[in-house]
Symmetry: C2
Amino acid sequence: AAERDHIGLKRLIEDLHAADVADLLEQLGHDMREAVVQVLGADLDPEVLSELDDDVRDDVLAAMDPEHLARAARELDADDVVYLIEDLDEDQQQNVLEALEPVDRTAVQQALNYPEYTAGRMMRRDFVAAPPHWTVGQMIDHMRAHDDLPDAFHDVVLVDPALKPVGLAPLSRIMGSGRDRVLRDLQRDQMEIIDATEPQADVAYGFNQYHMASAPVVDEAGRLVGVILMEDAMEALDEEAEEDLKRLSGVGDESLSDKVWEITKLRFPWLAVNLGTAILASMVISQFDATIAQIVALAVLMPIVASMGGNAATQTLAVAVRALATRDLTAANMRRLVTRETVVGFTNGVIFAVMVAVVEVIWYGDYKLAAVIGVAMVINMVAAGLAGILIPIALDRAGADPALASGTFVTTVTDVVGFFSFLGLAGMVLL
Amino acid sequence: AAERDHIGLKRLIEDLHAADVADLLEQLGHDMREAVVQVLGADLDPEVLSELDDDVRDDVLAAMDPEHLARAARELDADDVVYLIEDLDEDQQQNVLEALEPVDRTAVQQALNYPEYTAGRMMRRDFVAAPPHWTVGQMIDHMRAHDDLPDAFHDVVLVDPALKPVGLAPLSRIMGSGRDRVLRDLQRDQMEIIDATEPQADVAYGFNQYHMASAPVVDEAGRLVGVILMEDAMEALDEEAEEDLKRLSGVGDESLSDKVWEITKLRFPWLAVNLGTAILASMVISQFDATIAQIVALAVLMPIVASMGGNAATQTLAVAVRALATRDLTAANMRRLVTRETVVGFTNGVIFAVMVAVVEVIWYGDYKLAAVIGVAMVINMVAAGLAGILIPIALDRAGADPALASGTFVTTVTDVVGFFSFLGLAGMVLL
């Protein structure tokens, strides 16, 4: 039966792209995944491993026969091996490293020395470099003589004798030029040299901003150590977008395959912070409990003011966090944008003040209370605009991720300001 | 003075990448931008225009001398001209089109026939195609004979006599192979053929999933009409990520350069929806006003239950929206994920029930009220988990964007369930 399962499974996945097989494995539960990996055995395409999400990857590695794992590592490029083993414990890492050819082993070990989420981890170590004085003919002959060219590359890196990158010659131009042309004359107008310790978020931004096909990566001495391709940068850009979206919603680094207990742990911190800020808001309300005891309508209406403020603040926050991520919110336009958000908050505040006042009059028929809720609405919407843009800017200036925790801080402001202005004004005007 | 301004400005920007000049223009206020564009005149690099955000682009076009605009259009590739003029009114479009060479004009007009945000709009119309039986030598000679090769391309598209794409031959393999090799034998294992009407979100997903360098685009008849490069897909991926982030926060298609009144209008709809749902929550509270009148502590504590539910729901929502965008939440794992979110909601609910009950006892010393808020917390956290995942799934199944409006719907559920369970239980237990 195991043999039949093996053949059936193999047939099922053999026409699929490695990325799709990885997606299938990610969708399975833990036990099922383990069973599939074991039934497939040596027929699991090594490329699938480098396409897996990191926690599923560790799950799959644990289920693999060590011998199959070692063989898979030998078939993969150094950058994929790095991804494969970066989270394994020392012993298991050692086992995989020993299975590699010495030159690959050194490459993997060097990459592991760079921190996670940096260019040094992302870069490919198989690239094509040449002196700028080579001709197209020399370059083509050189490439034809080597049958171990990288799977993918878009540019030849031009390097000086000290191995410093001095230019990028795109394959399309090399191919379209006569054999006598010198590579130096074909190079791109622009080349971004990336430091191996540069964060992947910056790398992704650069590629997207300048539409680069590839960029050379250098060590501290400025020597070429690797190349990052646009496909790698695209993956990083996608990861960074995911991180922003999740952080803005108070979700950490969780994945769909995480188990209940892991998810619970990962979501706990921001819920705990939110409990603290919710208690703070409650303490504001409790200052006015005597007022509420006399006018219960205040308890009924107060969530409207807080909720509208929270919503308006979330809108501003999303715009500000995105603008900071894309380097579009800078010192040059900060003042203009803060002013704009304040004015937008005020304008929407007035509009919704009128609407909510009308609702109040229909509901309770109390004109004074209508005025109170209207004024509180304007105050809270202005506070929402200010908090929504100033808090992420402050986090960014403090060197923190503006998406992280912004949401909680911002709604704390709108809850506190909303309850305080509404109940405080009510106490002054109505009693 | 105008002459001096002109020289100064020109010098300031001449070493900058077009994308950075575009960013600078985006950061300026409307009047300043207009002035800069007019002072620069014909020295504004046409590439800058294709790097601008769409509303700034229209602003800049309006400030440009029609003659300069026509000249800029002639220098740009057809896909960039399409972007340039897509939002101009008929007359202005016609002016620019008339300035183009007939072949470019036809290309631009054809592209404009495809809907916005589809492959037909994204694709480049300058590509290199060849029959699969050509040899490397023929290909290289052909390319050397043409000096109007596209700026950027990574693959030669192999086409049959009916112009249907049958394969992609990467430049790196062509260059590394002997002159006698046949292109067919060098082609990539995989090629995704994209329909010209395919949405850009799907195109971006495909490129990122399969790490493609380029993909051929075909018309209804299956004939090659263009090529999309990874650089174009990366831009689309970034746009889609921005859209998800903004929609999840109730922000429409606004940009940093929009003016107060535009922003106010764009943010109004979701705030109005939120007002409706906030009033709904208030109506739930008003059902219990007699209970609140007797126990004011309920008014003080009720926002805690609602706020914790809202936060937990937002966490689940972010994970679900992202998983739907990356095609990782499917029919295959939906049941497992819904169960997981329910259990996580219950577990965190119990944890925070205990914490909030302790706070209540310290604060008010009422054990019964502590039990009530604890139970309400568990109920609302489970509701949060369910709403957070089921609402985006339902929107997705209904063909709507799961990010759109999810936030408002989800917090409506947690507000209503939170207030109802807390106040309802309090009425039953405490009175």
